[in-house]
């Protein structure tokens, strides 16, 4: 109980920090984002709407007219109501609508590829650690080099080889544009087909990290006394490997999920750009290139909340798979 409450409190603190960071950044950095936004808005035919100006000022700063505290309170109020302003790059769409349209693409793509990469990396790492001293050891440096490859570079090479060269996969996009988005079999099939290459990029680039971490923990776990006991008990090798060694070795990988997830999310943003994927990463870059500060801010918040949420879930799972954590009443 104490464990879960502590975790929840921590993520609330982290969420508050992220929200505040989002408030502070535009006010600390040089430039006059509100004027730029208003100019853009006018170009798009938005007119000099005082309400729009006020909304942007709440988000980005009034330039000293209101006190910071007043700004902060109205900023938090807007967030609570889900009002993130109007996007200038997708004018006249609201930021929240742009995000709602692109977020599912990213969650499915990045979520599934991360899960796949985690399972693959941890599984391979367990085997490589268990079979230590065999040819499998060479998998470790090989996958480590792969994880040092920039995501976007790998993505472009894959596109050049598999899409342009062999024509196996589409060049870009999230689905065949002639289809109407919806839950039809044809559309879902097209979305899966378009998602294979981006997913492959993410899996190839991130699997090495999981593999290395798991392999090292596996090697450590194998010299623990409980593995010796399991051997003395005459258990089969497969059982010792899975129930005794891997079951313990996986704990640090799960505990370190937060760090790895950060890398995957970062890499995925650039990957989306390469594939012109209709996800939130592409939208973030589109926002940056168009000085669409409101959209930028909104997407940063949403990505952060999603990452925090994923980490919270993993932490809750951790409490479930390691009984010692739940019982530890004092913060370690």
């Amino acid at each position: 109980m104490g464990y879960y409450l502590r975790k929840l409190a921590f993520y609330l603190a982290a969420l508050w920090a992220a929200v505040t960071l989002n408030f502070v950044i535009p006010r600390m950095l040089p430039g006059d984002p509100v004027d730029i936004l208003m100019a853009k808005l006018q170009q798009r035919g938005g007119g000099v709407d005082p309400a729009a100006r006020k909304a942007y000022e709440t988000l980005l700063g009034t330039g000293g007219r209101d006190s910071v505290l007043q700004e902060y309170v109205s900023y938090l109020g807007n967030l609570l109501r889900g009002e993130l302003g109007v996007s200038v790059s997708a004018f006249p769409a609201k930021v929240s609508d742009v995000i709602a349209g692109s977020l599912p693409w990213t969650i499915v793509l990045v979520g599934l590829s991360t899960l796949l990469s985690f399972l693959l990396g941890v599984g391979l790492g367990a085997v490589v650690g268990w079979k230590r001293g065999t040819w499998l050891d060479s998998l470790v440096p090989a996958t480590t080099v792969l994880s040092a490859v920039p995501y976007f570079w790998l993505a472009l090479i894959l596109v050049a080889l598999l899409s342009t060269g062999l024509g196996w996969f589409p060049l870009n996009g999230g689905y065949d544009v002639v289809l109407d988005p919806g839950w039809s079999g044809e559309f879902v099939g097209s979305a899966i087909y378009h998602g294979i290459l981006p997913a492959l990029t993410i899996v190839i680039s991130s699997v090495g990290g999981w593999l290395l971490g798991m392999r090292n923990m596996m090697v450590s776990a194998m010299s623990e006394d409980y593995v010796l006991t399991a051997r003395a008990k005459g258990l089969r090798d497969s059982r010792i490997m899975i129930r005794y060694a891997a079951r313990n070795a996986v704990l640090p990988s799960v505990a370190g999920f937060a760090i790895s997830l950060g890398f995957v999310v970062s890499g995925s943003i650039v990957t989306e750009l390469v594939f012109s994927y209709p996800g939130i990463g592409s939208k973030l870059l589109q926002a940056v290139q168009n000085n669409d500060y409101a959209l930028m801010q909104g997407i940063f918040l949403v990505i952060t909340v999603a990452v925090l949420g994923a980490n919270l879930v993993v932490d809750l799972v951790y409490g479930f798979i390691d009984a010692r954590t739940r019982d530890r009443s004092v913060v370690s």
């Binding site: 535009p26 480590t144 920039p150 570079w153 472009l156 596109v159 409980y226 008990k233 950060g262 870059l285």
Partner: protein
Amino acid sequence: MSGRWQGLLPRWSAKLGFGLGIAGAIVLFGLIGPLLTGDPATIRDIGLTPPGGEHLLGTTVTGQDILAQLAHATRGSLLIGLLVGVMATVLSGVFGIVGAYAGGVLDEAFSLFSNVMLVIPGLPLVIVIAGFVPPDQRGTGTISLVLAITGWAAAARVLRAQTLSLRTRDYVAAARVSGERTWRVICVEILPNLLPILASQFVFAVVLAILSEAGLSFLGLGAANSSTLGTMLYYAQNGFALQREAWWWFVPPGLIIALFGGALALVNFSIDEIINPRLRDRARRERDVVAVEAEITPAEPDAVLTVRNLNVVYQSATPVHAVKDVSLTLRRGEILGLAGESGCGKTTLAYAINRLHRPPAEVTSGSVTFDGVDVLAMGPEELREFRWVRLSMVFQGAMNSLNPVTPIRAQLQDVLRTHRPSMSAPDREVRCAEVLRLVGVDPARLGAYPHELSGGMRQRVMIAMALLLDPQVMIMDEPTTALDVLVQREILNEIVRLRDQLRFAVVFITHDLPLLLELSDRIAVMRDGEVVEYATAEDMYLRPQHPYTRQLLASFPSLTGDAGALIT
């Protein structure tokens, strides 16, 4: 002092050499390359010339020499990597080491801050910050600072954990008590021990910075007027290098990043091996026993386990002969005591009997016969079926002998599932409860995790587990050493009672000779791998032959006069 520093240097290995070689070559290319190649910006009318001739790596779409660009870009990327690496390492040191060392509120605050920074995704934050800063104000310094600020937290967490454990070590405590200044303790006592971790985190930060910068530049958000591998890729992509099949323009920058990252990862493997010696390369050895011709001598009529001239050698750089020519006989229902100080080879002997010894230990000669069967000649599957069914073990540290993440029920049932596959689930449950009752543990504790049990309870559970299959022999390696005297006595009584009731034979290993005098039927005293005296308990007590035995007996004066007091 030199010994202390030696442990901090990586051991030379092919991986380390290879990694340092590649990384060194790339650094050298970044340092010297720009001096040797021409101006990377010179435009010529030979756009997209393939590699060869005057332009070793070909030209860009505007005829610029790619080798020259690559040299300058490598220098730019390395510079950013170095800047960020240094800044991030300093930041992680401040928040990780200082906080953990100071403890209290400062540690809590720093740790919370690090963890929050850790869960906030880095690149989106960098993109947002870079998006707000106008391009003309985005210098190399600004970009490096932003990358450092978003990249130090993971390292701080590792450093904090390590510092917390170092802080409690004796020599650090001694320095603190003797009134040394805080900064001096940190610099002299703590930092040297953290060097491998700092080095590995620095290397990691450099790679991460180069990768992140490449990503930023590729997005057009890099430092203004900078030339890095990322900007090269940006121009290559915007010049449609791949679409025009100008792979020589697009591939080399990415390859340099990947090679540099991979090479530094290889270096990091070597550093990891310093931090965690268990990771060191070890050739896998399929063989734990050198082909031994078992001369099964006619065993004594009542013998269940016979060890003849057994030799075990640790085949390291300087081979250690841990067990020398040991011969022992264990009769049915007998308790055989094995005494000796730590390091005398008694545990190695016990493991070798069951072939549990790990590489580099190897049985070089001798025989182990169990009920007429040669244990050393058994195949893997035969050996697996032999273990626990005929011979079970109770290990020294009950603390770590149980799997910490599963309830004890699962660990007891494992044995039955494997060795009694036909047993039904309710029968298994009944049997587990039965053995727990035998050792005086409430069967309700079956659902408990090891950490929920006391040390004595855990040892009882281990004994219960050893009883599950009614083995003929039980090897107990210091089963009561870690327990307090009262619990120790209870468990010893339990063992003797169970032996009398169930008639299994016991090899009881301990450094406590007087204890064995009361417990055992016969005793072997080991020293430096050899059995120096082997006699009945009575003979050994009344007429010790070997000077070492007499010395051992004399070292427990309070008990020698009162034999029988411990076991009632």
